[in-house]
C-alpha cells in the first residue's frame, strides 16, 4: 500500500499542477469581468461581438473541411499501407508518426517557400509566363486547409491503420471462402466493422485541427482569425491582452470538444 502511494503521488501531483489546476483556474477566471466583478460578461461579449463569432465560425469551417479531406486521404493511405510488407509498414508508420513533429512553423515555412509571395512557384511563374503556377494564395483559408492536410493525413493513418490491417488479413479470406463478392464484403463487413474507427478518427482530426495554433500563426499570422489565434493574441502579454476573455474562449473550446467526444462515444457505441 505504501509503495502505491509513493508511486502514484508524484504522478497525481504533476497532473494536478499542470493540467487540473490550470484548467480549473481557466474555468473560474472566465467569469471574471474587466471591471473585476464576477459574471458572464466575457461570454456575452464573445457571442455578441462579430470578431469573436467570426473566429469561432472560421475555426469550425477550416476544421470541418480539413477533417473531411484528411479522413478520405487517410482511409486510402491506411488501406494502401496495410497491403505492404510488415517491414515497410513499420517504416511508413514511424515516418508518419514523425510528420506531426514537422507540423507548425517548419511546415508553414516550407509551404511559404513553395507557394509564398517570393516563393519558388512565383519565381517559376514569372520566368515562364505561366501565371497559373503562381496563382495559389497560400496565406488564405484554402492555404490553411492545404497546410492542415499535411499533418491530418499522417495522424488519420496512425489511427486507422490498426483496424484496417486486421480486416484485411482475416475477414477478406473468410468471406471469400464463404463465397461473398467484393461489394458484399465492403458493404456488410468492412463498413460496419470499421465505422466506429472512422467516426473516432474524424473526431480526432476535427479536434486536432480546431486546436492548431502554430501552423496557422506561422502561415497567416493574425490575418485569419480563429479560436486559437484569438486566444494567443489575448494571452501573449501585448497591449490588448485580456486573459479572462481568453479563458472564456478556452472554456468554450474545451466545452465544444467534450461535447464532441461524448457524441462520438455515443455514436460508436451504438454502431458497435
Amino acid at each position: 500500500m505504501k509503495t502505491k502511494v509513493k508511486i502514484l503521488f508524484p504522478f497525481s501531483l504533476l497532473i494536478a499542477l499542470v493540467l487540473v489546476f490550470p484548467v480549473l483556474i481557466m474555468f473560474f477566471s472566465s467569469f471574471q469581468g474587466t471591471d473585476g466583478g464576477i459574471g458572464i460578461s466575457n461570454y456575452t461579449e464573445i457571442f455578441k461581438n462579430n470578431y469573436y463569432r467570426k473566429a469561432i465560425m472560421n475555426s469550425l469551417y477550416i476544421s470541418l473541411i480539413a477533417a473531411v479531406i484528411g479522413e478520405i486521404l487517410s482511409i486510402l493511405g491506411a488501406w494502401a499501407i496495410s497491403r505492404l510488407s510488415e517491414k515497410t509498414q513499420n517504416t511508413f508508420l514511424t515516418l508518419f508518426n514523425m510528420a506531426a513533429s514537422f507540423a507548425g512553423i517548419p511546415l508553414a515555412f516550407s509551404l511559404i517557400i513553395l507557394f509564398g509571395n517570393s516563393g519558388i512557384l512565383k519565381a517559376i511563374a514569372t520566368a515562364s509566363h505561366l501565371s497559373f503556377l503562381g496563382a495559389f494564395n497560400v496565406y488564405s483559408l484554402p492555404g490553411l486547409i492545404l497546410a492542415y492536410t499535411f499533418f491530418e493525413v499522417p495522424l488519420g493513418i496512425m489511427f486507422l491503420f490498426p483496424p484496417i490491417k486486421e480486416i484485411n488479413s482475416d475477414w477478406k479470406e473468410a468471406s471469400q471462402v464463404l463465397g461473398a463478392n467484393n461489394w458484399f464484403f465492403l458493404k456488410k463487413i468492412i463498413v460496419p466493422l470499421i465505422l466506429p474507427n472512422i467516426i473516432e478518427t474524424f473526431i480526432i482530426l476535427f479536434a486536432n485541427a480546431m486546436g492548431t495554433y502554430e501552423t496557422m500563426y506561422a502561415l497567416t499570422g493574425n490575418n485569419v482569425v480563429s479560436i486559437p489565434i484569438v486566444i494567443g493574441a489575448l494571452t501573449n502579454g501585448s497591449l490588448d491582452a485580456n486573459i479572462p476573455l481568453a479563458c472564456a474562449l478556452s472554456t468554450i473550446f474545451a466545452a465544444i470538444m467534450m461535447l464532441l467526444v461524448a457524441l462520438g462515444n455515443r455514436l460508436t457505441r451504438r454502431s458497435r
Partner: protein, 264 residues
C-alpha cells in the same frame, strides 16, 4: 487480382508520400540556392546559407536550449511516469481504462487552451517558469510515452520477476532497474525518443508562457522566417534532418525488438 490491387496500394502511398515531401524538397533546393527570384531554376548552388546560419551567435544557444528542455522532460517522464505505467500494468490493470482517458487530453485541451490557465495560475507565483514549463511538457507528452510502453508488459510475468528479485535481496528500485528495465528496453527507448522529440519541438506553451524570452529552436525558426528566409530554410532542413535521425533510431529499435521476439 491481388497483384493489381497491390499496384493500386503502392501508387496511393507513393502519391501521398510525394505530396507530403514536395514542400521539403522545395525547401532543400531553396536552402542550397544563391538566389531564386525570377528564374525557373536557381541562379546557382551554394552552401553559403548553411555557413551563415551555423555561424550565427543565436543558432547554437537555441539548439542547446531546446536540447536541454528535451533532456529534462525525458528525465522527469522516466522518474515519474515509468514507475506508474509499470505499477498499473502489473498490479492494477483496472486503472488502465482510466489511463486511456489521458490520451485524448491533448485533443480536448490543446497547448493553446492549456497555456491560458498556466499563465493565469503561475504568472505571479514565485515558482521558476522553466520548471513549470518542463512539468507541462512532460504531461503534454505523456500520451506518446504511455502508448510506447503500454504493450511491453504483455507476454511475461513481470510481477513474479519483480517479486523474486526482491526476495533475493534487491530493493524495489534495484529490482526494477536490474530485472524489469532490461526487459522493456526497446519500449522505454521509443518512449524516450518520442518524448524528447515532442519537448525539443514545442512552440506554443514555450512561446506564450515564457513570453518568447527563452529562445528555443522553434522560436528562433519563427524569427528567421521574417528576417532571413534563406537561413530560415537551412534551419528547417536541419530540423527535418534531426527528425529523420530520430525516425531512423525508432525504426531500428522497433525492428530490433521484432527480431528479439522471434529468437525466443
Amino acid at each position: 487480382m491481388k497483384k493489381s490491387s497491390n499496384f493500386g496500394a503502392k501508387l496511393t502511398i507513393s502519391l501521398i508520400s510525394i505530396m507530403l515531401l514536395t514542400p521539403i524538397v522545395a525547401t532543400l533546393a531553396y536552402s542550397l540556392s544563391t538566389s531564386w527570384v525570377k528564374t525557373i531554376l536557381p541562379t546557382g548552388l551554394t552552401f553559403h546559407w548553411y555557413v551563415v546560419l551555423t555561424s550565427s551567435p543565436s543558432f547554437l544557444p537555441a539548439v542547446l536550449r531546446s536540447f536541454g528542455v528535451g533532456v529534462a522532460t525525458v528525465i522527469v517522464s522516466m522518474v515519474i511516469f515509468l514507475p506508474v505505467i509499470f505499477y498499473i500494468n502489473v498490479y492494477e490493470p483496472k486503472l488502465k481504462a482510466k489511463m486511456r482517458f489521458l490520451t485524448i487530453i491533448p485533443f480536448t485541451i490543446p497547448g493553446i487552451v492549456l497555456v491560458t490557465g498556466l499563465v493565469q495560475l503561475y504568472a505571479n507565483l514565485p515558482i521558476p517558469k522553466i520548471v513549470v514549463l518542463i512539468l507541462t511538457l512532460t504531461a503534454i507528452n505523456l500520451p506518446s510515452f504511455y502508448q510506447s510502453l503500454n504493450n511491453v508488459f504483455m507476454g511475461r510475468d513481470f510481477r513474479a520477476m519483480f517479486e523474486q528479485a526482491q526476495l533475493l535481496g534487491e530493493s524495489p528500485v534495484g529490482a526494477f532497474m536490474h530485472v524489469i528495465l532490461p526487459n522493456i528496453r526497446s519500449g522505454v527507448l521509443v518512449g524516450m525518443l518520442l518524448t524528447f522529440t515532442g519537448a525539443f519541438s514545442e512552440y506554443v506553451v514555450t512561446n506564450i508562457f515564457l513570453g518568447g524570452e527563452f529562445e528555443t529552436l522553434k522560436i528562433y525558426m519563427y524569427r528567421l522566417m521574417s528576417v532571413n528566409g534563406n537561413a530560415g530554410s537551412v534551419l528547417t532542413i536541419i530540423y527535418f534532418g534531426f527528425l529523420m535521425i530520430i525516425s531512423f533510431l525508432l525504426i531500428k529499435t522497433v525492428h530490433g525488438k521484432k527480431i528479439d521476439q522471434r529468437k525466443e
